[in-house]
Symmetry: C2
C-alpha cells in the first residue's frame, strides 16, 4: 500500500534518500555523449540515447544503496518526444532494478484532464480493449493550487493501484514564500495546503500510519519542516533542497518521525555530477555516484536512526 | 510582441476565442479511429495517429474562423511518447495554418528545471551546436504556486522570442476556492497571484498595453472576472469555463476592456464534439466544428464589440 513500499525499501537499505535523475546534457560524461552521438547523430535522438545510457549506468551503480529514483520530467520534455521515450524506458528500467519511482512532474489540472494525467503517470489507458501503462511510475508530484479537484483523480489511481503522490506544500526555493507564506486567517497558505493534503489522504493510512497523499517540504526552511512534521503526522514528506540548495543533514532530520520514518530526502546534482570532482573525465561516473550516495546516506544517518 | 500577435489575429477574425484540442479518444469520429487502427494497430501509435488526423481535420475546418488553438498536454501524455510526438506535429501544423498556439501545460518548477520547461515549450535547445525547438508553442500556461522563481525563466523566453504565458490566477473549477480564495491580509490569494503576475510582466507592454504575462481567470466566477479586469489592466486573460462548465457569453464579457481587447475565451468539448449532435456518425465533424465555433463567436459578439 502506498508509501509502505517505499518505507520498506528505505528500512532494508537503511537509507532514506532518493536519487534525482535530472539529466542535463552537461551532466553526462563525455564518452557516453560521444558514443550516442556517433550512433544517432548530434540530434534529439542522440541526446535521448545518451540520457538513457547515463541513467541506466547510474541505476546499475546505485542499486542496493539507494531505494528510490526521481526522474524530473522537464529534462526529458526538453528533448521532445524522443526525450519522453527515454523517460518511459528509464522508469521501466528503474522498476526492473527494484527502485521506487517518483515521477517529478508537478502536474495539476481538473476533472477529466487531471484524470488523463493520473492515467498517464500512475494508471492504465484503455485502447481498443487492451490496457497500456504509459509511464507507470509508483508516485508523482502534483501542484494543487486548483484545490482538491486536482488531487482526487490522482488519489483514485493511488487507491486502486497502491500508488502514491506528493502535493507541493512548502518548496525549497527562495521565492516560495511569495504565495506559500501568505497569512490566511490563522494559517499560512502552505499550512492550508498541508492540511488539505492530509485531509484528502485520510483513510489510506498504511502500516506505518502514512496516507498515500504525501507532501513536498523543502530542506531549506528547517523550522517549517519541523512544524509541519508535528502538524501532519500521517503525511509522508519528500524533501528537496539537501546539498546544492543549502539544506544540511542537521536540517532534514526534522522531516522524520521518532522512528526515523515518514520522509525521503532528495539529491540530484551531487550524485549525477560526482564524477566531475575526480578528474577522470567521467569514466568513473558509476563509482563516483555510488560513493556520493553512500556519503549522503552516512551524513543523514548521523542525525536519523531508522527503526 | 507577446499577446499583440494574438490580439491582431482576434481583431482580423472578429473572434476572441480559442479552440481547445483535448483529444479524448471518445471525441474522435469512428471513421478516423477505424482507419488509424487499421494502419497502426489498436495501440498507442494507432491512437496517436487518430489524434493527429482529427486535430488536422479540425484545424482545416477552423482556419479563418478561430484565431487560436489550445492543445491540452494531458491527453497527449496519456498516449505516452507517441502522444507527445502527435502533440509536436499538432503544434507544427497549427502554426503552419496561422493559428496562435497556447500549449496548456500548467507546468511549474524552479531554477534550471523551470528553464528546461521553458526551453522545451517556448524556446530552443542546443545539441552539439545546432538548435532544436522541441514543442515550439507561442504561449504556455503555468502554475506559479512556487512563486516568481517559476515565472522568470518562462518570461526570459517570452522576452527574447516575442512569446507569452498565462499564470493560473483564478480557475474555473468548483474547488478553486480552497486555496485561491483564502483571505491573506487584505487580499485573496488569487488576487495576490494576479498582482504578482502583472508585476513580473511589467515593462513588456505591447501596443495594446498588455504584458507578455497573462492570467487564467475562469468564466464561472463572473464577479471575480470583472474585479480582476479592473485590477489588472495590463494583463491579458485566458478564460476557461464557457459552455460545458456553465459560463455564458454574458459572464465572459467582463473579461474584456472597453475596446473589446485583452481576453480570449476557450471552448473545447462544444467544438470537438459538435458532430455528436448531428447524428451523422462524425462524417460531418468538420462542418459541425466550424458551425459550433461560429455560433460561439456570434454568441460572444452579442456582448463584446472588438475595436
Amino acid at each position: 500500500m502506498s508509501f509502505e513500499v517505499l518505507q520498506d525499501k528505505i528500512r532494508k537499505l537503511k537509507n532514506p534518500t532518493v536519487a534525482g535523475l535530472d539529466p542535463k546534457l552537461e551532466y553526462i560524461p563525455p564518452h557516453i555523449l560521444k558514443e550516442s552521438f556517433a550512433a544517432h547523430g548530434e540530434t534529439p535522438a542522440g541526446a535521448a540515447d545518451a540520457v538513457l545510457t547515463f541513467n541506466r549506468g547510474l541505476m546499475d551503480a546505485l542499486a542496493g544503496v539507494v531505494p528510490a529514483v526521481k526522474p524530473q520530467a522537464a529534462y526529458y520534455e526538453r528533448l521532445g518526444w524522443q526525450g519522453m521515450a527515454a523517460l518511459e524506458q528509464t522508469i521501466r528500467y528503474a522498476r526492473e532494478k527494484g527502485f521506487y519511482v517518483i515521477a517529478d512532474i508537478k502536474r495539476g489540472d481538473i476533472g477529466s484532464t487531471a484524470q488523463a494525467y493520473a492515467e498517464a503517470w500512475l494508471g492504465r489507458v484503455d485502447i481498443g480493449g487492451a490496457e497500456y501503462a504509459p509511464f507507470d511510475a509508483d508516485c508523482v508530484t502534483i501542484n494543487a493550487y486548483m484545490g482538491s479537484d486536482t488531487v482526487e483523480p490522482f488519489l483514485k489511481e493511488c487507491r486502486e493501484r497502491g500508488k502514491s503522490l506528493f502535493v507541493l506544500v512548502k518548496t525549497s526555493n527562495p521565492s516560495s514564500g511569495e504565495i506559500q507564506d501568505l497569512l490566511a486567517g490563522d494559517r499560512l497558505v502552505y499550512r492550508a495546503m498541508g492540511d488539505l493534503t492530509q485531509r484528502l489522504g485520510k483513510g489510506t493510512e498504511d502500516k506505518y500510519g502514512f496516507t498515500c497523499a504525501g507532501a513536498v517540504v523543502g530542506a531549506t526552511y528547517p523550522s517549517d519542516l519541523r512544524e509541519l512534521r508535528r502538524r501532519l503526522e500521517h503525511t509522508f514528506f519528500l524533501v528537496p533542497g539537501y546539498g546544492a540548495q543549502g539544506g544540511t543533514a542537521e536540517d532534514v532530520q526534522h522531516a522524520f518521525d521518532r522512528y526515523g520514518h515518514g520522509a525521503v530526502i532528495n539529491a540530484s546534482r551531487s550524485i549525477m555530477c560526482a564524477w566531475k570532482k575526480t578528474e577522470k573525465d567521467g569514466l568513473d561516473y558509476q563509482d563516483a555516484a555510488r560513493a556520493a550516495a553512500e556519503a549522503m546516506r552516512d551524513d543523514i544517518k548521523r542525525f536519523v536512526t531508522i527503526v
